[in-house]
Amino acid sequence: MFQSVDQAIASLEKEKYICSKEIATTVYLAMKMEKPILVEGPAGVGKTELGKVIASSLGMDLLRLQCYEGLDEAKALYEWEYAKQLLYTQILKDMLGSMLSNEKTLADAVKKLSGEEDVFFSDKFLLPRPILMSIMSKKPTLLLIDEIDKSDSEFEAFLLEFLSDFQVSIPEIGTVRAAIKPFVLLTSNNAREMSDALKRRCLHLYIDYPSQELEEKIVTLKVPECSSHLVRELVKSVHAIRALQLKKEPSISETLDWAKALAILGRDVLDAETAMDTLNLILKYEKDIELVKKNAGKVFVH
């Protein structure tokens, strides 16, 4: 566990993740309070990455549950291994036969058999999925429930018990409680609003685009071949571009791609011409590129 907010910042920087005091505060508090975090924010600001680097920094196992429409308990929690169950009944056919040979009626046989049901619905035949895995794990675990906004609200409701008590009920086995509480991070792109019940169980973290200062740090860390002079100019331009009214703003990963490309091109300053030629690295839409070109005087230093 992180010992302080500052230590969290320093530890994550070792994993090449630059975080603001705000991000570190929430992470630190969530660990202390054993609460999940709901992380929201625009695409590409490092929501998923945050989960990964916390896990690697603290040597936790990372379990990732990618959400999508139609995701259900069988994929998130557990499934019975039907094939294995079937195989075992086949192998044990003779044994079952002799066991049931004394029963006179079909009803008696069924009764006898159902007495042995437990054997087939024990954890030998249980196939745990990420949520159950995170509960059963004997090691500190980080469970990343990614893009929860893509799941259905039924799934969200199902998560509630797990998020408040770190336990789940399996009808055939009973309640399974975590020996070591997993650290849970949920991310969302705001495709839909989460319920109040879910939010109450979480600390909330909104990650926005980083300040120029932090983004310079990120680029320096991740693209060391980029000169510090170029980093400054490039980040400044990206911030000016984000301030324009674009259809899709460039995210951190686009800044990084741009930095790499310019470093490969051997540039040390970001002249307008090079910038214009490489805009398609950070902007997806033709209209956005045109808009930036129109505002070149404002956006680029040279």
């Binding site: 005091k21 630190y28 508090l29 202390k32 609460k35 600390l203 009214q245 259809k247």
Partner: protein, 456 residues
């Protein structure tokens, strides 16, 4: 850390006060969140402003659209400056230090505590009306005359008595007391009261301002208010969108699908082990918006379009048109840029006019001729305009065609109802053909209307 003389209890009260302010400002905070805050505060110090602010934000605010409001409340309540030396509760500490100066007037520690408690209780007991209508001095007088306060004994009682009589006899009072003592007390208490009153108003003022703007007649908004409104419309629109989409999720499942349940449960001899519900189709209307953008109503059209595009994802399809005497489709503009920029480029454009003034008839004719493909039995049409047709042909045939081909036609008229049909307005002619024509004045009217579209 916090100076010793500001006790724990007083600090806790500060946080409860702050939560009340957030609630006043319209940010919901539940008990669970309040408890979380106090747990969280046990793990951090107050000496780093960023950490302190984020501790409050992360435990209290769960809707990111509320973050700007939280920040304003925080700045107003805890002060705007960076980390104060030693503590980040400037007002709590400054207040306590100010009280401390009364020691010089012969008040003991105990007296100071009871004075603080008296002030707190008094402020707590006041009605909102008093906060907003009385001056600080008037509130101080009320305080001094409060029976509980007036019955204080000892040194405190003396000082309160003297301050009160001094107030009654004017500044050059002849009570024979040292004047500087009462002046000091008067000033300290006045500052204490003004601080508390200002604090308590923070949330209400933010909310009142929002309500004022949202309810103000759109044509009366001043330019700087329009700017403020745009930010607000985005926030408010986002909230509206979240609310509508949550509501839609809830109704997604209809009643029990008996046929399907029986069929699927045949394997269990017809005993319904598993119940199947009807999938109710999520109702996402198609929207066609026709906005008059002539001078008299263009501010309404701006906000209507801004709102429409904030809510875009709620509709399966949105097409927008603007007209004065030419009908022009503006949908593509909104696909390319954010609504505000799109609006500016629309209003800068000139090919909306043909001849002089609004011509509804000509525009409806053009619409039917050129854009009929946008009209289906699932379409809801919104017309925004004052129906002032400059005495030209109403194009009624075309308008009727529009109503016949679509599910609903709503007309939002920014003009006062009693002015409909006055002068060159032909509101009634169109109204007879519409599902409804309604008066809209403010942004609230517009958004309430949109909200209703989804419950119909």
């Amino acid at each position: 850390m916090i100076s010793a003389y500001v006790s724990h209890k007083k600090i806790n009260k500060k946080f409860y006060d702050f939560i009340d302010i957030l609630k006043d400002a319209g940010v919901p905070v539940s008990t669970a969140e309040t408890l979380d805050l106090f747990t969280a505060l046990g793990h951090v110090g107050f000496d780093d402003r960023h950490v302190f602010r984020q501790t409050l934000r992360t435990s209290l605010v769960k809707d990111y659209t509320d973050i700007p409001v939280f920040d304003r409340c925080f700045d107003a309540f805890f002060g705007k400056k960076g980390p104060a030396k030693g503590s980040d509760l400037p007002s709590a500490v400054a207040g306590a230090m100010e009280m401390e100066s009364l020691r010089d007037e012969g008040l003991s520690e105990q007296d100071l505590d009871s004075l603080t408690a008296l002030l707190d209780d008094f402020i707590e007991s006041l009605d909102d009306a008093i906060f907003f209508e009385r001056t600080y001095q008037e509130i101080l007088t009320l305080f001094l005359e409060d029976p509980v306060v007036a019955s204080s004994s000892g040194a405190l009682g003396m000082i309160i008595f003297n301050t009160r009589s001094r107030g009654q006899h004017g500044p050059m009072g002849d009570s024979g007391q040292r004047p500087d003592e009462t002046i000091n007390l008067n000033q300290v208490m006045l500052r204490q009261i003004s601080r508390r009153v200002d604090e308590r108003k923070i949330g209400t003022q933010i909310k009142d301002r929002e309500q004022y703007l949202l309810n103000k007649f759109i044509y009366q908004l001043k330019p700087d208010e329009v700017k403020e409104m745009k930010e607000l419309v985005r926030r408010f629109g986002q909230k509206l969108k979240n609310r509508i989409s949550l509501r839609k999720k809830r109704v997604k499942h209809g009643g029990i699908d008996v046929k399907r349940t029986i069929r699927k449960n045949l394997q269990f001899g017809g005993t319904p082990f598993k119940i199947y519900h009807k999938d109710r189709k999520i109702d996402r209307p198609q929207l066609v918006v026709l906005c008059d953008i002539s001078g008299s109503v263009n501010q309404y059209s701006r906000f209507m379009l801004l709102l429409t595009y904030t809510l875009q994802s709620l509709f399966s399809k949105v097409r927008t048109f603007a007209f004065i005497s030419n009908m022009v489709e503006i949908t593509p503009l909104f696909m390319e840029m954010n609504p505000d920029t799109a609006l500016n480029s629309i209003f800068g454009d000139t090919d909306f006019t043909y001849g002089w003034g609004s011509n509804y008839g000509r525009c409806f004719n053009m619409f039917v001729r050129e854009y009929s493909d946008s009209l289906t039995s699932k379409t809801t049409v919104l017309v925004l305009g004052d129906a002032r047709n400059n005495n030209q042909d109403p194009g009624l045939e075309s308008f009727i065609k529009i109503t016949e081909r679509t599910r609903n036609v709503f007309w939002l008229n920014p003009e006062k109802r009693h002015l409909w049909d006055w002068n060159d307005s032909i509101a009634s002619i169109y109204r007879e053909q519409c599902t409804e024509m309604r008066e809209v004045n403010s942004f609230i009217d517009l958004s309430e209307f949109i909200d209703k579209l989804f419950t119909r």
